[in-house]
């Protein structure tokens, strides 16, 4: 007697491509890839309905390693590519990924406008506080006194950005921080981020063992948010000023601001506009 086969739920592996990552062994981005695939599998999203948009840098290579639609664009502009795609195809699940240099230096302007525009995108910023792909320069999140870069041998002397605080000020309605050393925790954050109807910013502390070997210590310093998440931006701002930048969890979520909604469903025809020119 035949019994109906229940559909097999997708597994994280289904969301990986068959291209082997070029990341160094021990790179935190492996865990980010794993977390993303776990989140997509958990939500059972068809692969063809997901797009991963990235910029340039080690972490931006992630597009090639996921088996969904992807765009490996130019440095710093992934959020703009994603905004166009989402506006044209609002039904797709659009993920954006990149590093701290791609996202906060050359991509800085697009970052703050993406937060403000509040389109339903999920932006994963893999933060290793260095430019890895170009061999170890300081990034906007590098501490002022890091002296290991030949470009800035005395350290930059400039205070680093706080990405989560920037996102809050710029208007992101979901702000979270994850750690590659806790891929399951990150997967959970990503599930919430993807579900959130607006711009979700997920900063992931993701060590670069090649250029910042001291980041191995992050696993000892990272802690999860003792308090619950908040929807009060003032409270979130105060917390972000004080959290030592190594606290993980969902920091802020406010569903009250409506997500940018593509206007669709017009019924006009081009011929209607042509008549307006006629004398």
């Amino acid at each position: 007697m035949e019994t109906a086969m229940a559909p097999v739920p997708p597994r994280p592996k289904d969301y990986k491509s068959d291209i082997k990552p070029i990341w160094c062994p021990g790179c935190g981005d492996f865990a980010v890839l794993s977390a993303i695939t776990k989140a997509l599998a958990f939500r059972e999203l068809p692969r063809e309905d997901v797009a991963m948009i990235t910029g340039i840098g080690c972490s931006s290579r992630i597009a090639a390693y996921t088996g969904v639609y992807g765009f490996h664009g130019v440095h710093g502009r992934a959020l703009a590519l994603a905004a166009g795609l989402k506006a044209a195809r609002p039904e797709l699940t659009v993920l954006v990924a990149g590093g701290d240099g791609d996202g906060l230096s050359i991509g800085g302007n697009h970052f703050i406008h993406a937060c403000r525009r509040n389109m339903d995108l999920t932006y994963v910023l893999m933060d290793n506080q260095v430019y890895g792909m170009t061999k170890g320069q300081a990034s906007p999140t590098t501490a002022a006194d890091w002296t290991r870069s030949k470009l800035t041998p005395h350290g930059t002397g400039i205070r680093p950005f706080q990405p989560a605080a920037m996102a809050l000020t710029a208007g992101a309605t979901f702000i979270a921080r994850g750690f590659s050393g806790d891929p399951n925790g990150l997967a959970k954050i990503l599930v919430e981020a993807i579900a959130h109807p607006g711009f979700s910013f997920v900063q992931v502390l993701s060590p670069c063992l090649t250029f910042r070997p001291e980041q191995k210590d992050w696993k000892n310093a990272v802690r999860s948010f003792a308090d619950e998440e908040t929807d009060d931006p003032v409270a979130a701002a105060a917390r972000l000023q004080d959290d030592g930048a190594l606290a993980t969890g969902i920091l802020y979520r406010d569903p009250r601001f409506p997500a940018y909604r593509s206007r669709t469903g017009g019924e006009a025809r081009v011929a209607d506009f042509e008549e307006a020119f006629a004398l």
């Binding site: 990552p21 794993s34 997967a187």
Partner: protein, 173 residues
């Protein structure tokens, strides 16, 4: 309450076990891939073999659970100590220049933790069936550990070889 004491029924225990083995297999495969890409075929082969063992064990467990309905637990709802299954390699310790001895040391640490995980359950779980099966799994992990020890004895490389590459880093993009 320790995780062992929460293993109140067979399906829950099997759910944990299967995920542990499958995640170990995936992690070992990931390491094998990265060693392939970084031109360390010996270590790649080592991790590949370890992945194979984990997959075998996972399949055995799945076969044993065929008649049971395992609970669906989200990846982050597993209450592993430290957030990750005990058998999954700590990826801090890997390096593209690592030798087989170092790879095996990593694997042995994982197997030891897996063994200890099952052993604790075999003692502390409130369910007798669970304790019995956990004891079997612990024994199996013990066998794996012995295999790895024997394997390591055959390898001439030293675990203490320093991981130094005189070539500078390179910029692909």
């Amino acid at each position: 309450m320790s995780l062992a004491r929460k293993m109140t029924d067979l399906p829950t225990f099997l759910a944990y076990s299967v995920v542990m083995e499958e995640e170990a297999a995936e992690r070992h495969d990931e390491l094998a891939d990265v060693m392939d890409v970084h031109n360390n075929p010996d270590v790649a082969a080592t991790f590949r073999k370890l992945a194979h063992y984990s997959r075998l064990h996972a399949r055995e467990i799945r076969e044993q659970s065929a008649t049971l309905e395992l609970p669906k637990i989200a990846p982050w709802d597993f209450e592993w100590e430290g957030g990750e299954p005990p058998e999954t390699a700590d990826s801090d310790e890997v390096h593209y220049l690592m030798n087989r001895a170092q790879a095996l040391r990593l694997a042995m640490e994982n197997e030891q933790r897996a063994h200890d995980f099952y052993a604790e359950i075999s003692r502390e779980a409130p369910n007798a069936e669970v304790r019995k099966l956990a004891a079997e799994f612990a024994a199996e992990e013990r066998e794996h550990l012995d295999l790895l020890i024997a394997w390591r004895e055959k390898i001439p490389e030293s675990e203490d070889e320093p991981l130094i590459d005189p070539d500078p880093a390179h910029m692909p993009e």
